[in-house]
Symmetry: C2
Subunit: 155 residues, 2 copies
DNA sequence: AATTGTTATGTTATCACATAACATAACAAA
DNA sequence: TTTGTTATGTTATGTGATAACATAACAATT
């Protein structure tokens, strides 16, 4: 994807976020929007303190709680995801519909892809049902090499 | 499970660990064994510093690296698992054969169960294959309420 | 038994991630 | 304009993990 296209996607993602929040009657304040923008611009997993460093260039008074509060809001609204195995955060590709999170994390290029496999979802659900476990959240994170990196350097 | 039975299982788990390590030509040193014993005794997710506190009663000089080194070894040998969504560690039920980790974590009683669903495994594998992703590790962690807790208090 | 390479442990300091607690400010509804 | 609520500012600290370097234990030789 060309930089210009990516820029465009980011702008678009922010517009979608604006609309979603407006529709839900919640406030995407400037700080929250800035944090989301940072995550959208990179679209790589970023640690809270990485975000903080970038945020400081726009908001020098920013401190850890500033970032964590924004992240808390964005997570609640499904606009970003948390990657448990990296202690990191990434913006959501399509926040307009909720989905169980399934992530493929490339250890070479750092790209994070959302798998969204309905069949994985269904299979896991039925396994949970079979043993009487009432799930309220699930984490699926696979680390490895993405197709592009494998093709670039098949080793 | 009665305490006596649990005790027995713990002793058994340690013996199995001894044998596995001997067979592999690696050393289950006293420190490593003590950490494993602590995890087996509880068989709940425990943080590294929880383990450290208990370890100190036997080994007062223990410090964070003491625990983390033991955990590193035990993880390598498949004797314990790390729960990414809790930053915690738990002893493995059957270390004798390797398996992709799939955990059910009860938020009420804290029990951790290994799901080991072959169908989930297969479904995920084929989804990964379909998009050309070469996995080298995977995390599946489901948080919710176990059957026992649901039956005890259906709310 | 002495040498030597390797693996394990001891020790200090510090990094990285996250939140508690309390004060102030902005907002929105009456 | 008051009042309740939500958001932000600020300080400090809690929690999880590792870097870096020194020493000790072990195991395989000669």
């Amino acid at each position: 994807m060309k930089p210009s296209t990516c820029q465009k996607n980011c702008q678009n993602a922010l517009r979608v976020a604006d609309q979603l929040c407006q529709g839900r009657g919640v406030r995407l304040t400037p700080q929250r929007r800035q944090v989301l923008e940072i995550l959208c611009d990179h679209h790589k997993p970023m640690g809270a303190y990485d975000i903080l460093d970038l945020l400081k260039s726009e908001l020098p008074a920013a401190k850890p709680p500033t970032v964590y509060r924004a992240l808390e809001f964005l997570l609640e609204q499904g606009l970003v995801h948390r990657l448990e195995s990296l202690n990191a955060y990434v913006s959501c590709i399509h926040p307009e519909h909720p989905h169980a999170s399934q992530f493929l994390i490339c250890r070479d290029c750092g790209e994070v892809r959302e798998l969204e496999s309905r069949s994985v979802d269904r299979t896991l659900d039925s396994a949970l049902k079979a043993c009487g476990f009432a799930a309220d959240s699930q984490v699926i994170e696979v680390t490895g090499r993405c197709l592009r990196c494998t093709e670039r350097d098949p080793s």
